[in-house]
């Protein structure tokens, strides 16, 4: 059940310039899954709206959520100034995450670009856990491809616990020079399914790649949001078919997504 609740900051540190790693204690953590997000409210009331931030890790046993976010404006700048013990209001858990049942027995490529990398960690972790519970034939192969700006490869060590990690960097300082698609080409990576989160040009390239390879790509979209619960119709994406809820070619990213099958959306 979604709710607005208070969250206590358990820890916060900077992972790279402008990138912060925050653990929050909140009772909604038990409901959180890979690909979902929460709304985080600034305490400064001149900035009213909840900031949608994806879940990097969820630890139900500790009622804790890990958020790794980039400072992009006033709200996230405020969050970055908080320390252990400070409190924030959060709204969640929001959206539909990745459907792990669709990934059983497949070679799954988890692709993250920049601040789209954090949700890939929880996804890798959940796939890794699912693999323990299923038959050999249903185990997924976890292939992780992540793209950074430079050598500040945040979350790389965490990701390596769950699968083989390929890296691309824009400046060529680590791994393949370029983006995740360059890394896929250089390393000849083959997959049966893709799960991705990252900037729109990357998601467009992945949608095209998946269509050429005839494999499903589950992509996580981003848009400016107000309510986060499907009421305001602020965050829509164009859909190929008429959407079941809106009855026009628009789906709500916050509630019908943020994860969509790439072929279903016009991006």
């Amino acid at each position: 059940m979604k709710k607005k609740t208070s969250a206590k900051i358990l820890s916060q540190k900077s992972l790279a310039p402008g990138i912060y790693d925050m653990w929050l204690e909140c009772d909604i953590a038990k409901d959180a899954h890979a690909g979902q997000f929460i709304g985080v409210y600034p305490n400064d009331k001149s900035t009213l709206l909840p900031r949608p931030i994806s879940i990097c890790e969820a630890d139900a046993s500790k009622s804790a959520l890990r958020l790794v976010y980039r400072v992009a404006g006033k709200g996230t700048a405020e969050f970055s100034r908080y320390n252990e013990g400070d409190c924030l209001d959060v709204l969640g858990v929001l959206g539909n995450g990745y459907d792990l049942s669709l990934l059983k027995g497949k070679r799954v490529m988890l692709m993250g670009g920049g601040i789209g990398i954090p949700p890939m960690l929880e996804l890798a972790k959940e796939l890794f856990e699912q693999n323990k519970a299923v038959t050999d034939g249903e185990k997924a192969e976890i292939i992780i491809v992540v793209g950074y700006r430079d050598s500040k490869t945040f979350l790389k060590e965490d990701l390596e616990k769950y699968g083989k990690v390929y890296i691309a960097s824009e400046d060529g300082s680590v791994g393949t020079k370029g983006n995740v698609m360059n890394a896929v080409a250089e390393e000849n990576i083959e997959a049966d399914a893709i799960c991705a989160c990252g900037p729109m040009p990357m998601l467009r390239a992945i949608k095209k790649f998946a269509e050429e390879k005839n494999i499903p790509a589950y992509i996580s979209l981003e848009e400016h949001m107000a309510c986060g619960v499907g009421a305001c119709l602020g965050c829509v994406v164009k859909t190929k078919e008429v959407d079941h809820h809106s009855h026009v070619n628009n789906a709500r990213i916050c509630t019908d997504g943020p994860v969509f099958l790439a072929e279903d959306v016009e991006i």
């Binding site: 009331k45 709206l49 909840p50 848009e223 107000a226 009421a231 305001c232 119709l233 602020g234």
Partner: protein, 301 residues
């Protein structure tokens, strides 16, 4: 202590409803709010056929508020009746359907379609959305146009008609009087105030539509002033709105002359805002020994 109010013969259990477009048809907020506790649910604007709305970005934050340019995306009246009205059937609250259109005939089509719907208690006519190219605000910025559409809708409407007024006018009192003279049963105000935000780093407009309607706490003083001016000008009941986030805000509108109030953008900030406003009004009445909420309407001295 009595919190009931009455607008055009329709009795609400308390004076609190929601701003159209901020609450869907209640479905999305059902998880947060017991809809039975609301005076009324006001639905998102609905047209005769589905509307796709505007391109994104459709929303952006501004100091103390937000801009939106959704463009009245809606599934059309048929789906609305089958799904949204059906959903509201089991709730003990009044239902106000917000109606939009591109031409007078569009509005009339929706109003007629709703005339047999038992679940619809009132109609709110959106002649003030600033985000669509045709219709809507075009009928709400000139007194003559407002008079014409109000008269036409009143000819066809079975339920009481609330005309929702735009703040983007020179003289709100003139518009309120025009609506009243044309037969409106009530007026609601204010809709959003047209605004603009520019992203200086990208040198682009923050909204794809360039302009958007501003809502949120920052617009409240403008809204209170306009409700007061409208209340001085007409005798029909007023539903006041614009930046209401707390009971204190709501009480300002009631004292300025509003019979009822709507919580709008505050739902996005605090999904429990409506219930907290209702409880806060009751607290205020207890603290100030107010027996009947009607004693507060227009009671500013």
């Amino acid at each position: 202590m009595r919190t009931e109010i009455e607008i055009a013969g329709v009795k609400w259990k308390n004076p609190v409803t929601v701003g159209s477009g901020t609450f869907g048809s209640g479905m999305e907020y059902d998880e947060f709010v017991d809809l039975n506790k609301l005076g009324a649910v006001t639905s998102k604007g609905v047209a005769n056929i589905p509307w796709p709305g505007n391109p994104t970005p459709r929303v952006t934050e501004v100091y103390g508020g937000m801009l939106n340019a959704i463009g009245l995306q809606n599934p059309g009246i048929d789906v609305f009746c089958e799904r949204d009205l059906k959903f509201l059937e089991s709730y003990d609250t009044k239902v106000i359907v917000n109606v939009c259109g591109k031409s007078i005939q569009d509005y009339v089509d929706v109003v007629e379609r709703l005339s047999d719907e038992k679940r619809v208690d009132m109609l709110e006519i959106n002649v003030s959305c600033p985000n669509v190219k045709e219709g809507a605000i075009a009928f709400g910025q000139k007194a003559e146009a407002l008079t014409e559409i109000t008269k036409e809708i009143k000819k066809h409407a079975k339920q009481p008609v609330i005309m929702k007024l735009s703040p983007n006018v020179t003289d709100i009192a003139e518009m309120a009087r025009a609506a009243e003279a044309a037969g409106a049963d009530a007026i609601s105000l204010i809709n959003t105030i047209t605004g603009m935000k520019i992203d200086i780093n990208r040198r682009t407009f923050a909204l794809a539509n360039k302009t958007g309607g501003m809502s949120g706490p920052a617009i409240k003083p403008v809204a209170v002033r306009m409700v007061y001016q409208a209340a001085q000008a007409v005798k029909i009941p007023i539903i006041g709105m614009g930046g209401i986030a707390t009971a204190e805000d709501a009480l300002e509108f009631i004292l300025a002359g509003a019979t009822a109030v709507s919580v709008g953008a505050a739902n996005f900030v605090n999904p429990y805002a409506t219930l907290q406003v209702i409880e806060g009004i009751e607290d205020y009445m207890r603290r100030n020994n107010v027996e009947d909420i009607k004693d507060l309407i227009g009671a500013v001295r």
